[in-house]
């Protein structure tokens, strides 16, 4: 942290923060006189959106796949993550010859607004104060995230999306894209998500937020100004959330009730069990790469997500008249976004006679199954995208159709 923040100009500071968070991404900056209107009534300006691309845009710009990341994901979907040094979160899915085949498609993955990897978020500089926004950052929604992405596409001069794809919160963005920009979305793949956040999921998020806020280093959200970070609170939030991404079966298979580097329990509160040690590691690794306030704002955006509420309480109305082809995917062991919630989306799409496919993939990996190598998921996405490209008449760079 700079000892004397005032000595650094706003532009310098913004640049330093953006680059620090994100050494390898393209970033588009929208100036202060092009504010992004927000659902809350406010607006966001200036606005930065960081993104990664893979593959090549074809001549008629018809092979764009927009990949939307989940709550704690980022734009580094298929490249080494510059912060962790690990492969991108969807490295198994995106790449040459993979289901999201970068030899055929042009893949764009933006960091959501509210995030902390280069797009404008609570750790960005507030032009009004020249300090980080912190708690003064406006509350954003999933629709705001999507609106920002639409602006990014406009800036890049791309009107049509061959397919918008994402899991979990990424799936929420997919549904929002399909509901809000019907004419721009040829096909949509919402995975392991729902058309609204359930009470149970809001409850889990609230536990996470309270853990962050209970950390004295949160400083009412102004920890960046004070050179602090609510690491413990954020780690606890991550630990609790991480459990919801797994399944009982996964935890059992992975850990049983096995002890960590010891023969017997210690009758204390050390991490006796492997599962405790694992969760502590997950929490710790997370705080090194994620901003606590971003976690608060993005979880809030998910909580507010309710597409039906924006359409007189009738989900089908959100999709009335849609020409978009849908491929809805859920997982049998996902209890965070259970199949029933995907089925509600499918029923709404059926009610408007939309062209929809729906696959419930058999997996015991819980919600995180969408990030893992699940052959049924891979076959589904590969087949669906190929059919969409065929129906759209996409001509690929190699001349194939």
């Amino acid at each position: 942290m700079n000892e004397n923040p005032a000595a650094e100009s706003f532009a310098e500071k913004a640049k330093r923060l953006a680059q620090g968070a994100n050494p390898q991404s393209e970033i588009v900056h929208f100036p202060a006189d092009e504010p992004l209107p927000l659902d809350s009534g406010g607006s966001l300006a200036p606005l930065s959106i960081a993104y990664q691309t893979y593959g090549t845009l074809n001549a008629d710009k018809s092979n764009l796949l927009l990949v939307c990341h989940a709550l704690t994901g980022d734009q580094h979907a298929a490249n080494l993550n510059p912060l962790t040094g690990k492969p991108g979160w969807w490295d198994t899915m995106i790449g040459p010859g993979k289901p999201i085949d970068t030899d055929r498609y042009f893949v764009l993955c933006p960091n959501v607004i509210g995030g902390c990897m280069g797009s404008t978020g609570p750790s960005s500089i507030n032009p009004a104060t020249s300090n980080a926004y912190g708690p003064d950052f406006p509350v954003i929604t999933v629709r705001d995230m999507v609106r920002a992405q639409a602006r990014l596409l406009d800036h890049l001069g791309i009107d049509q999306i061959l397919s918008v794809i994402g899991g979990s919160m990424g799936g929420m963005q997919v549904l929002e894209w399909a509901a809000t920009y019907k004419d721009r979305v040829f096909s949509a793949v919402p995975i392991a998500c729902a058309a609204r956040h359930s009470s149970q999921n809001i409850a889990f998020h609230e536990v996470g937020r309270q853990a962050v806020m209970a950390d004295p280093d949160w400083r009412e959200g102004r920890y960046l100004d004070e050179g602090k970070s609510p690491r413990k609170g954020l780690a606890v939030a991550r630990m609790a959330a991480h459990i919801t991404y797994l399944s009982d079966a996964t935890l059992h298979d992975k850990f049983g009730c096995k002890l960590q580097d010891r023969e017997k329990v210690t009758f204390g509160f050390d991490a006796d069990f492997q599962v405790e040690s694992y969760l502590r590691h997950q929490g710790k690794a997370f705080v090194d790469r994620f901003d606590a306030n971003s976690y608060l704002y993005i979880t809030r955006a998910m909580d507010y997500f309710d597409i039906a509420a924006d359409h007189d309480g009738v989900l089908a109305k959100a999709f009335a008249g849609t020409k978009t082809r849908f491929c809805v995917v859920s997982f049998t062991s996902d209890w965070l976004f259970p199949t029933e919630e995907s089925r509600e989306v499918v029923h709404a799409l059926n009610a408007v006679a939309a062209k929809v496919s729906f696959v419930e993939v058999q997996s015991n990996k819980g919600h995180d199954a969408f990030l893992l190598h699940e052959p049924e998921l891979f076959d589904t996405i590969r087949g669906f995208l190929s059919a969409a490209a065929r129906e759209r008449g996409v001509v690929f760079a190699d001349g194939g159709a």
Binding site: N350, F358, V359
Partner: protein, 214 residues
Amino acid sequence: MSVNIPVKPNSVRAPDTQRVDLLLIAEMVVPGSRVLDVGCGDGTLLRILAEKQAVDGRGIELSHAGVSSCVAQGLAVIQGNADTDLAYYPDLAFDYAILSQTIQATHNPRLVLEQLLRIGKRAVVSFPNFGHWRVRTQLMFGGHMPRTDNLPESWHDTPNIHFCTIKDFLALCDDLGARVERAVALNAYGTKLVSMPLFAQNLFGEQAVFLLSR
């Protein structure tokens, strides 16, 4: 047909006879129409309909394997249940609602048929005829539940829980006020049994295909 996908072992459709019954169904469908195939299996009929009649096809299938295979081929198929999921479609959403070799596996065939006639301007239903002489003889002289090439499963592991004869099906149509626009019985070799009285069709027909409307 250019695509050849092996029929999954548990399918209620036997590979040989299915072609004829599916082709007959395809014949009944007007080109370019909107079609829902309920119980679409591995998507064979949807592919035939797309290739031969250029239909805008959708499917519903119960089995994971069937749905995955369909979606991987790019067919618009949802994992669902004929008994419960038809209720979500609006009235007359399709030109044809097809139930091919599936009605005998539903829990409530009457309700399913009602739904078909509601969401489709026309319904096409094909089923194995339990009045076929081979079935009758097995029960009469063998004293056991019939097993044929077409219906190979034992009584305890078959998905087919509501068998009917051609006569039974006609009675149900009558009951529901459905108009029979076409009815074709096929013998074991897939030949249409034409100009035969009903009792003979019910005896020699191994499959039956009905085109219905309200």
